[in-house]
Symmetry: C2
Subunit: 321 residues, 2 copies
C-alpha cells in the first residue's frame, strides 16, 4: 500500500525530542505528519501518545463576526502573562487551505509572532478521509506532547463540524454578540448544549442586556440540577475588557473539571469518539475499494434500469464481499 | 431485529396506488415511511423504484436571507402556469423538526395551500442514521413515483450538507444577492462548483452590477471549454421579476441535459453515491454494535493509561471482530 512505510523510528524520536525541547519547526513538521494521515501519522501518534495528557484544552466557537479570533488572541496574551506556553489550532473546515499560509493565520500571528511561547497553526483539511474529526485530536496530541500546558482549538465557523471540533476540548467557550437573540432557535440550542462558558463579546454594543437575559433564560430551561451552570461573561475583546473575568472563569471551570473526575470522563468519551472515527475511516477505505470495479457498475446499471432497487443492490454488493 | 417486519405488500401496494392517483395523504405517509428508515423504508423503496425516473429535479440553494423560499414559490407558480404538478422538499439539516409542523413550512404553504397540484414537505432529520443524505433521495423517489413531473429540493442553509443535498438534483440553482462578493472566497467557490444556473435575487438592490461582474469573473476562471456555462439570471422574486427568464433558463438546461447523455451520467453518479451511503450506514450500525461492550471499555482504559495508542487500539479492536 502506498505511504505505508513508516518513518524510521530514530528519525521520529529525534523529531519528537526536538519538539519537546521547544523547536517550533519540529512541532510544525509533526503536525503536518499527523495531518497527512497514513502510516507516517500512525507511527507518529504511537510515539507521541506516551508524552500526552498534560495539556488542558479550550475550544472556542461562535458565529462569524463574533470576534472569536480577537478574543483568542487576548486569552493567549493572558495565558502568557501567567507564564504559560500556548498552542493554538485555528480550524476552518470550509477552507481548502491548510498550513500557515492563509490570511487569517497571518492576522492571528501578528500579536504573538515574536513570542516563542506561542505556537499558532491553521487547519483546514476538509478533503481528508475522516477529515478534521481525525486530524484535530492528532494535532492536539503533538502540542500536548511538545509540552504546551494550554492548547486552544478555535473554529472559524459555526456549523455542525465546527461545533463538534470545538467540543473536542476539556472546556468549550461559546462566543456570541448582542443581537444574537434574533438567531435561529435550533442553532442556538446546539451551541448552548456544548458551552461550558458563554461570552457575550462586543458588549459595548446595544442589546447586550437583552442577550444576557436571553441566554440566562435558555440556561434556566436547559439546566435543572447541573453541577456547573455556564457563566455568562461580557467582554470587549478589541479593548481587552472582560478578559480578566474570562480568565478567572476558565480557571474556575478548570478546577471544577478536576474536582470530581469529570475531566477523565470527558477525555474517555473523546477517546471513544476518536477510536470510532479511526475505525470508520478504515471501513470507508475498504468500502471504496469494493465499490471501485466492474461488478459495482453492473449493479448500478441494473438499478438504473429499475431491475434492482437501491437496497436490494446494497444486499447484493454485501453478499459477495 | 426490531422494526424488521416489513409492512404487508398489499398495504404498500394500495398506498402507492393511492399516491399515484393523487392522494396527498398517501404521499405524505409514504414520505414519513421512507424517512423513518428500517425495513419499512426498504420495502417501500423497493415497491416505489419501478415507478420512478419520470421526474425532473431542481435543487435550489443559497445563503440565508437570499430569498430562496420566495423564489421557489415563484418558480412553483410558473410551473403550475405551464400545467405541471410540482413536489417541493424543503430541507433543513440544522433543524430537529421534520414533517409539516415548522413555521417555514406554513409560510411556504400559503401561496399554494389550496392547489392540489403542489405538494410541499419539510425535512429535517438530522438525527437519523445516514441522515438526510439517505432520506432525501427516498423522499424524491416518493414524489417521482407519485407522478410529479417536477420536484424541487430547496435547502434552508448553505453548509456542506445543504450543498450536497441541493446538488442531488438533475439541475442546481444557486441563489445569491447583491453584495455577495464580500463573502468568503472558498465558500463561494464551493457554491459555484455545483451551480448550473446562478440567480442574483433582490436585484433591485444596490451592487447588483458588481455581483454579476464578480460571478462572471469567477465563471471565467472556473470554466475553460465547458459545454454549459452557468447563466446568471437577475430576479426580484418578491415582485415576480425575472421569473420568466429563470424558467426559460431552466428549460434550456433541461434540454441541454437530455441532449448528450449528461442526464443519465448525473443520475448514475447519484445512484453510486446513494448506494455508498446505504452501505456506509450499515457498516456504522455494525461498528456501533462492536463498540458497545466491556472489551471496548478495556481498550479505552489502556489508551487512557498510555499503554496503547489510538491506532494500535483500533488494530486490536479489528483483530477480534
Amino acid at each position: 500500500m502506498p505511504g505505508r512505510d513508516a518513518p524510521a523510528p530514530d528519525h521520529l524520536r529525534s523529531l519528537i525530542g526536538a519538539a519537546r525541547d521547544g523547536d517550533r519547526g519540529s512541532v510544525a513538521r509533526l503536525i503536518s505528519l499527523v495531518e497527512r494521515g497514513g502510516a507516517d501519522a500512525t507511527a507518529a501518534v504511537a510515539a507521541l501518545h506516551p508524552h500526552t495528557g498534560g495539556a488542558s484544552t479550550i475550544g472556542i466557537t461562535g458565529a462569524p463576526g463574533s470576534g472569536k479570533s480577537t478574543l483568542t488572541s487576548r486569552l493567549v496574551a493572558r495565558l502568557r502573562q501567567e507564564g504559560h506556553e500556548v498552542g493554538v489550532l485555528a480550524v476552518d473546515p470550509t477552507s481548502p487551505f491548510t498550513g500557515g499560509a492563509i490570511l487569517g493565520d497571518r492576522i492571528r500571528m501578528q500579536d504573538h509572532a515574536v513570542d516563542a511561547g506561542v505556537f499558532i497553526r491553521s487547519m483546514a483539511t476538509r478533503g481528508h478521509l475522516g477529515g478534521l474529526a481525525l486530524a484535530t485530536p492528532q494535532a492536539v496530541r503533538v502540542l500536548d506532547a511538545a509540552g504546551k500546558p494550554w492548547v486552544i482549538l478555535e473554529t472559524v465557523g459555526v456549523g455542525q463540524v465546527e461545533i463538534a471540533i470545538a467540543s473536542e476540548a476539556d472546556m468549550t467557550i461559546v462566543v456570541v454578540t448582542p443581537g444574537w437573540g434574533d438567531g435561529v432557535q435550533a442553532a442556538k440550542a446546539g451551541l448552548l448544549e456544548i458551552a461550558d462558558v458563554l461570552v457575550v463579546n462586543k458588549a459595548d454594543r446595544p442589546g447586550v442586556a437583552d442577550t444576557v437575559h436571553d441566554l440566562a433564560g435558555m440556561l434556566d430551561l436547559a439546566g435543572g440540577g447541573q453541577a456547573w451552570r455556564p457563566p455568562v461573561v461580557e467582554t470587549v475583546a478589541s479593548e481587552g475588557r472582560g478578559i480578566d473575568e474570562l480568565w478567572d472563569t476558565v480557571l474556575a471551570h478548570h478546577a471544577f473539571l478536576r474536582s470530581d473526575g469529570l475531566l477523565e470522563t470527558r477525555r474517555r468519551a473523546r477517546l471513544r469518539a476518536e477510536l470510532r472515527a479511526i475505525l470508520l475511516a478504515r471501513l470507508q477505505v475498504d468500502l471504496d475499494e469494493r465499490l471501485d470495479g466492474e461488478r459495482f457498475e453492473q449493479v448500478i446499471e441494473r438499478v438504473a434500469s429499475r431491475e434492482l432497487d437501491p437496497y436490494a443492490a446494497a444486499d447484493e454488493l454485501v453478499a459477495v464481499r
